[in-house]
Symmetry: D2
Subunit: 227 residues, 4 copies
């Protein structure tokens, strides 16, 4: 086996400083990738094109678009919340694709991996704007994955939930009795997925071994959804 | 069995003049419902609240939000197309919910049925903006369905595809050899689902017999997806 | 709407005296069906053929094949348990199909509805033999549904769980604190599905309005799985 | 990254001489595993226990249980066919589990990977006995996966279809115009999945990086099903 399966791969990672960004960077680099981490806000119309122009050759684009779940009920949600969630998590997707696909189509090679959420696969309370945006991400990856597969480009998505990360599950949350009860009832794995486990799976999907997957959604959530 | 299972029900149906609107109106009325059909565009921020205010008591809201699939590739899509698709099909959902849920919560009774699309469940070419918006709809229905279930309110979605309707499948399309080949390969049913069949199933989900379904997505697509 | 949508339909219901049998009989008859209830054990090789021969014309066959979940862990399971579960719930399916399909194919009309379980859609502890058998049922319905659709025959399945019935959820079980906690955590509906709700949905799938569904699996489990 | 992620792992592979067996052996060994390939028929009651006894320490058991799809319609199927398919593909599962789980539970470490089929996730013609058995496999993996997760044991399944292998897709089949048309219509990937790609993914699921997956089903079928 190749000790550096991502050797020579230039991987663009958006929002590389938050959420799964640091864990992804570490694991991808350890596997030989050149990670072009980016931290700019992508809600502005031209940001995606600019990012890709600066990045040069992109073998893999990781569309890692996250905002914290606002946590409001549908009744307490606002226009602003809705717009913000979609502006950051959903609207950048086609812009990133339009910026990066031409070079991939020309090389007949490339991958886009959407870091999505299993909240789109199973209903959760106080997460309707967030889940809706996540649902848009997954369906988009399925559709684009089927569309660009003939160019030998692979678009897939991870649908994660209950993955350890400082944004969603800081130690003080993990210490709560209610949190422990939730893990017991909702999480067959019996613990949070570690950030490294999630990142390793993402790295696998970025590698050539995963050329056979197109338009597919992979839950990474410790059994919270079975597929 | 009740010959008029929707007798006494006041059902608001958005975009009642297009797409599945006419078939839904006919079937719901035949089953005893008072259908408050509405034809205003719902992309304006205040339209949903206005609609519900005018409607008075609403037992069931059918969020029937549709635009034709633009049919572009992801490369040919534009900001305008994306914004239009989401403005008409996705953004009205929380506005409608915020307008109609308070009276339902007060009565501890009510239903929202989202007329969604199976294009969010299986990838299709030239449908990425459309599928993304449809994915947002389904995930939203799942999340809100779980959230409002304790109020004895049921939110569910139909995920339809390959249903006979003048917008998507006019006779001239159905006559094309390519269309027939598509039906043969992709449609276990071997024919389009009729608009009446789809509307009957929607009527069932509007009835009290369906009080047991919450946050659920029902494919109506002749076996194009099995669940 | 037809007050007796199953009028004139001859529906064979296996194991009509147990599990969902009584509720199904009542609801189907109330909708006009002639229910040919059968109570023989179907694990014997010739029983299915005999049953259908005696029944005469069969418009709909409800393959209602149930044994209580043995409730053992995989380690405590036995050959006998495994064999019994499959002999009663799985092996009769192709026999029933071979007995009843010829007359349906000749008439170019007919339905088979498998009363299956959502335990095949989401993992449960102490249910591996049971879930495996239920998984066979659902996959069989999908495959046969696609195969016989061209004959205008519809084969579908209900995947139920947490439906009120004296076998699985007698009052003493429902009174347990642990049961209430399970409902709270696992059941978005917040209560068991009633036997009547389940039977009404089955009746719908037996009616001509449901001619558009083939090879499909419908969860009826109060949101325990979203689709 | 570990150049030999399976170094030191003793992996039992059943039916190692057929179907995916050779490709799995090659890839697992290349990643450092000691592969204990076994070729005995497992339909005899005592065979699974004997196999595990002879194998000694088992870190991972790959339940690779396959027979060719009989290819009969449900009408042409026979008792013998049904019994054979289940005896080889389904009945060995609990026997293998009962033989191998005690040592894994004692070590609080171990994995079972079921090499299953996507034919259980989407209906196919002339595959009802085969699909039913495959459905039993997947549902069993989900249930046992949830049950044994607290012992730090991971049970998961691959649901493959349209993977290159000499049994199902010999060159003469691949050369048929009808086969090419099937790939065009049913396979977003546009080609068969290679045996190596499938084996690499299986190897990943056998590695410690995959400790976070329990009771999960992973389609490997080039987009034939999206999840």
């Amino acid at each position: 086996m190749n000790p550096a399966p991502l050797s020579g791969k230039r991987i663009v990672l958006t929002q590389s400083d938050v959420f799964m960004g640091p864990a992804l960077s570490t694991v991808l680099q350890a596997q030989g990738a050149t990670v072009i981490g980016d931290t700019r806000a992508l809600d502005a119309t031209g940001a995606a094109a600019e990012l890709v122009r600066e990045a040069g050759t992109v073998d893999v684009l990781i569309a890692h678009l996250a905002v914290p779940n606002p946590g409001t009920t549908v009744l307490d949600g606002s226009e602003d919340e809705w717009r913000t969630v979609f502006a950051h998590m959903v609207d950048p997707l086609p812009r990133l694709a339009r910026a990066v696909l031409p070079q991939m189509i020309e090389r007949r090679s490339g991958k886009i991996l959407v870091m999505g959420s299993a909240s789109a696969l199973r209903g959760m309370k106080r997460a309707s704007s967030y889940s809706a945006a996540r649902g848009a991400q997954l369906a988009w990856a399925q559709a684009v994955g089927v569309e660009v597969a003939p160019h030998r480009i692979q678009v897939n998505a991870i649908a994660q939930n209950l993955v350890e990360n400082p944004t969603y599950f800081p130690p003080e949350i993990q210490a709560l009795p209610k949190f422990k009860e939730r893990i017991k009832w909702e999480m067959p794995l019996g613990r949070l997925v570690s950030a490294e486990e999630d990142a390793h799976f993402a790295a696998y999907l970025c590698s050539e071994a995963a050329d056979c997957f197109v338009g597919q959604v992979f839950p990474v959530c410790g059994g919270w959804v079975p597929r």
